[in-house]
Symmetry: C2
Subunit: 427 residues, 2 copies
């Protein structure tokens, strides 16, 4: 039998359900992997091995609550846990013990899953990075802000993780770390108990090593019964989308997107070029206005009481947000509404869009988690996005390919992403 730490979440869950594996054995295997790799990767900000084993033992003694019963999860440290500190990547909240679990944590526990520990986030899920490195090359960033969640899943420390995205904080780190990242439709995974910075943008998402794992875990967090997506009756129609962010493209993602399109065509898909409606040219700027405006208000307590404990880049974002007028903010919201309506012009003709997950592979250095420019327009529009791995850059780092679907078509989006993941791996 393979090392349980390398099983997919679905395989692990069915092994536990069928009595071939215990939650304790699985959690112990994950802890052993952490022991081996954590000094390099630095994915965790809070980990209590004894408590994790004890929770796994309790799961082993309970009736099974669902197909992922007993499976451990890494939780980004802006998500409240009643039994573990939640520090939000900020000295202001270091050691803070929440009163209650976040709703998404309560939902995963209700499904019998185990919270393994808390993973490193950048400061309030924004710019200033934590200690985490890229498991593929420790000189490179893992991406952010869900840095520890992406690195933990990529390093085999946990089969699943919770992340959040306001600009590109699920898709980008997942792409850089070579795993699957799924940012669901805006508003579908409840955010109660998550430290919010931008109500119009913040979206809870998941990381996994397969699309099927991500889909099943997201259903748990949405509190909906999991239905395996209907298999595609025929290969998808992909809309190849060089987004308005294209001037930022680097060779790794440009080549990667072409390779992905080629492999998809060879596997039988139709790939047609699409151009976004012109309102999308304003989307990047509108996202920046919305985010800074909202951050400066959502963090009013921190701004008023702990200014000296905020990083310089965050202070700058807050100050920018206070300069924008209410009229500029309303206009940005108006661009958002127009983009939400206009995207159907391209999504009516294709199943999903195929677009870069990031400008390139993971940049060298740990001071910067990379550019979310290929993510923020989709976050703003609120559509479901999946990044799939399977392509490598010239220097041997993962390159993610982003699949973007329509609101109300999450299941189809996931099915197309799973199809693409297979096509990329088959090459």
């Amino acid at each position: 039998m393979a090392n349980p730490a390398d099983l997919s979440a679905i395989e692990a869950g069915s092994s536990i359900a069928e009595g071939r594996l215990t939650s304790e054995e699985l959690v112990a295997a994950c802890l052993e992997r952490i022991e081996q790799r954590e000094s390099d990767v630095g994915a965790w900000i809070h980990l209590d091995p004894d408590a994790a084993i004890a929770e796994a033992r309790r799961r082993d003694q309970q009736p099974k609550r669902g197909p992922l019963h007993g499976v451990p999860v890494a939780v980004k440290d802006i998500v409240d846990t009643a039994d573990m500190p939640t520090g939000c990547g900020s000295p202001i909240y270091e050691g803070r013990r929440p009163y209650a679990d976040a709703a998404c944590v309560a939902l995963l526990r209700a499904a019998g899953m185990v919270v393994l520990g808390k993973t490193v986030t950048t400061e309030f899920a924004m710019r200033t990075p934590g200690k985490t490195t890229n498991p593929h090359n420790r000189k490179h960033t893992p991406g952010g802000s869900s840095s520890g969640s992406a690195a933990a899943v990529a390093a085999g420390m946990a089969p699943l993780a919770i992340g959040t995205q306001t600009a590109g904080s699920v898709i980008r780190p997942a792409a850089y770390c070579g795993i699957v990242g799924y940012k669901p439709t805006y508003g579908r995974i409840p955010r109660a108990g998550v430290k919010l910075i931008s109500e119009s943008l913040d979206t809870v998402g998941v990381m996994a090593r397969s699309v099927a794992d991500a889909a099943m875990f997201a259903a748990v967090l949405e509190g909906t019964p999991y239905k395996p997506p209907a298999p595609l009756e025929q290969p998808p129609v992909f809309g190849l989308c060089r987004s308005p962010a294209w001037p930022e493209i680097e060779p790794a993602s440009e080549t990667g997107l072409n390779v992905a399109a080629d492999r998809a065509r060879r596997a039988g898909a139709e790939v047609i070029e699409v151009t976004l409606p012109s309102i999308f040219d304003e989307a990047g700027n509108a996202h920046a206005v919305m985010m800074a405006y909202e951050v400066s208000r959502m963090l009013a307590y921190e701004r008023e009481n702990h200014w000296d404990k905020l990083s310089t880049p965050l202070k700058r974002t807050i100050n920018d947000g206070r300069v924008y007028s209410r009229e500029q903010y309303d206009e940005a919201r108006n661009v958002q509404a127009q983009c939400r309506a206009a995207i159907w012009e391209v999504l009516d003709d294709v199943d999903v869009l195929l677009t870069p997950s990031a400008p390139g592979d993971a940049p060298e250095g740990l001071a910067w988690t990379g550019n979310p420019v290929f993510n923020r327009i989709w976050t703003m529009v609120g559509v479901p996005c999946v990044t799939v791995p399977g392509i490598s850059s010239e220097r041997g780092l993962p390159v993610g390919i982003q699949v973007v679907g329509a609101v109300g078509r999450a299941a189809r989006t996931l099915a197309c992403a799973a199809w693409l993941h297979d096509a990329l791996r088959a090459a």
Copy 2:
């Protein structure tokens, strides 16, 4: 000089700015009013008079931070305060001391205002009422869920209060208590640190005794500089709207709406009958589906860990919410999106709508806070709503008239509401 407790917030703020009144005197006057009336009204769940006076003294020693510097505010007890317990109207959270102020509390403190204390909310801002009575007749409900906030402002205990609305929890209690209630556009006052139950619906709002007070206070909570609304160049065009909830209308509100229309016409306004687009016939049901679905997930922690401490009606809502399918929820969200687009069909032709704030005046008895049926469609659509007092029912209780505007036209909506308030009082 009048009792400072009876001043409007704007009058009190300018008296403090001009040195004719201190924050300490104002807070002391409010505390005296509370002393006189609290045993009847029961508006407060946490009040520490010494601490309130001490905060007022600090304000008196500081440079003025804005036009409401030194003015006290009543805060609904689902809104976090770092220096006062926040119990959410539930035994689960009794005595809980939050780690931080909610963003809106930090913003009002940044403007130099004083948190006077915490006001009674129904259980998690839903059905099960607290101890509060209607200041106009203690045998009648004050409405809910922002019961204590509405009663405190109506009884002259505080010039301003924070409330929240998911169905009708700002507009209805304000109408029943005979004050101004303002539910701003969805998403404009930040919700960080507010106990959320329904992310698509929860809206922070304000209570006051004049529209101008409400407008100025809302600007503080939105973190925007206050600009007095431009005076109307001519009397407004009102669209008289007998909403799809009309079968629930009672004589008090039916007569009240007619009286309001008559007085508006006599004061020079045009009042034309409007009919909502037919998609609004589905709006009430869609609101109910959205709310129950989201409540059952947002309260996942409470449901999984404290089921025995939830009231029977809340348990029923949670169970209802778990029965709705993801498809039913998506369809409700789709109705919401259609209503948001379709409302322009009527709002293009008029300045604002004129519609009941509640089925009638405050029902007798304290076990039920009344029916939000005349509020929930507007909450779902996310448009700005103001209830204005000035009309009484046959039995001498206040009847509110609701002014509903368009997203992006909040200032105009407030100006029309202020105009109507004057017209109703002039009669």
